[in-house]
Amino acid sequence: MSADEETMIPRLAQGVRLKFDAARDGWVVLAPERIIVPEETALEILRKCDGKRNLAAIIDELASEYDAPRDVIADDVHTLMSELIAKGLLRS
């Protein structure tokens, strides 16, 4: 991922909300006529997409939290972000 791309600020797509679901004891993504239970890593990313952090900051935080090499995390984030954008849950 280039440095340019890392300045982008990903945010939840219009009409998408993240909510803790007390009845099922877990996080859910509420989207237009869809309810998605995100996998752990996707959830970590979605929770950081608050419209303030840019991609570089998100990768830095995850690299630190997982104590993993930054380039490995960057690759994972890139793949997951593409999936989340294709699913209409995130926009950049």
Binding site: A13, D21, E33, K87
Partner: protein, 368 residues
């Protein structure tokens, strides 16, 4: 152990606020016997139902109809649902909605709007909807929806008389800035069953439509999500109707009857509780209509021993009744059903029919 152990709460409530509608689409999912305004639930009862739905664990509420915007208390109900932390969706034809109304819906906190599309050809759209200038009005409404910042889903119901314009429908969704497009082949219940001979596509039309959708999904990835609902008359295995009976959804009619699916009232042997009389939790957990076909214990063969029994949940009970004559049988959409070949033959005969006239959806008084 309680019999309720392991019973998950519903994901969503479909609130059919009214059967009143300015359109008369011949494939309407409402029952043949429509409920008049005088029998509709009050604002207060709907608010209680919304609170009960949220407490039960529902996450989304779909305000539908009829045309839900004819209810003046719609914004009040949306506000109430948002306060209960439900995700709110409006399913509308857009007819009768002006710019001020769209803004008022936005102010109420509505999360998403699904706008119906009958056709991209204006004359055909009017003929299907049984009204005038419908396409022009809808295009204006779509603009106001986007201008108000709503995410938009366009819902195109497709059939033999508009499928040739599927590509144009996809283009229109992109032009209008829709996030999602539902390409929904008509499902043959109620009004659509009555009009099946005028609506059923041929197998070749269906295959072409599927190709168009698959190609558009590839080229529009990241720009437009396309959901695709196929007509199961040509299928080999049934759909998991409603994600399984009494597993995910509660449908509430304008007069308050709680149904496992919108067509369930066609199964006249079932008794449906009314939200006026019982709480949603009681209805979901205990009512005979919801428990009747829930899970796998009710299943006949070949479903009972099938390894797909928890995938398709035996398919659709209403279709089993409509086409095999008994709601307890395997859905004839399944190739293992003894009624499957007859269903397929019926679809092919209807598809080859020269019928183009519709029986329009109209309100008629219901005997009580």
């Amino acid at each position: 152990m309680s019999a309720l152990a392991g019973l998950a709460p519903p994901l969503a409530v479909l609130a059919e606020l009214t059967h009143r509608c300015p359109l008369q689409c011949p494939y309407c999912s409402n029952p043949l016997e429509l409920v008049g305004k005088e029998r509709e639930l009050s604002t207060d009862v709907w608010k209680r139902v919304i609170d009960e739905a949220a407490a039960l664990g529902a996450l989304q509420i779909h305000f539908s109809g009829g045309e839900p915007t004819v209810r003046r208390d719609l914004e009040d109900l949306i506000r109430h649902a948002r306060a209960a932390d439900l995700y709110t969706n409006l399913i509308t034809s857009g007819i009768g909605v002006d710019e001020a109304r769209v803004k008022s819906l936005a102010e109420a906190g509505l999360d998403h709007i699904q706008l119906s599309l009958q056709d991209t050809d204006a004359l055909s759209a009017d003929r299907i909807a049984g009204t005038r200038n419908s396409l022009q009005k809808k295009l204006a409404v779509a603009g106001w929806i986007r201008a108000a910042g709503f995410p938009l889903t366009l819902n195109a119901v497709v059939h033999r008389q508009n499928l040739e314009r599927l590509e144009a429908m996809i283009e229109l969704a992109v032009e209008l800035g829709a996030q999602r497009l539902e390409v929904a082949h008509v499902q043959y219940y109620g009004w659509a069953l009555t009009n099946r001979a005028a609506l059923m596509p041929s197998r070749a039309q269906l295959d072409r439509a599927t190709e168009i959708v698959e190609q558009a999904r590839r080229t529009l990835t990241g720009r437009l999500i396309i959901d695709y609902v196929v007509p199961d008359y040509y299928a080999q295995r049934p759909k998991a109707c409603m994600g399984g009976w009494g597993r995910r959804f509660i449908n509430i009619t304008p007069e308050g009857r709680a149904l496992p699916c919108h067509a369930a009232e066609t199964i006249e042997t079932l008794h449906f509780d009314n939200v006026v009389d019982r709480s949603l939790a009681e209805i979901w957990n205990q009512s005979s209509a919801f428990t009747r076909f829930r899970g796998t214990a009710w299943m006949p063969e070949p479903c009972r021993s099938c390894d797909r029994r928890e995938t398709d949940w035996g398919g659709c009970r209403c279709q089993a009744l409509a086409l095999a004559g008994d709601a307890e049988l395997t859905d004839p959409a399944c190739a293992l059903s003894p009624h499957h070949d007859a269903m397929r033959a019926m679809a092919e005969a209807d598809a080859a029919s020269s019928e183009t006239e519709f029986t329009y959806r109209r309100l008629k008084a219901r005997a009580t």
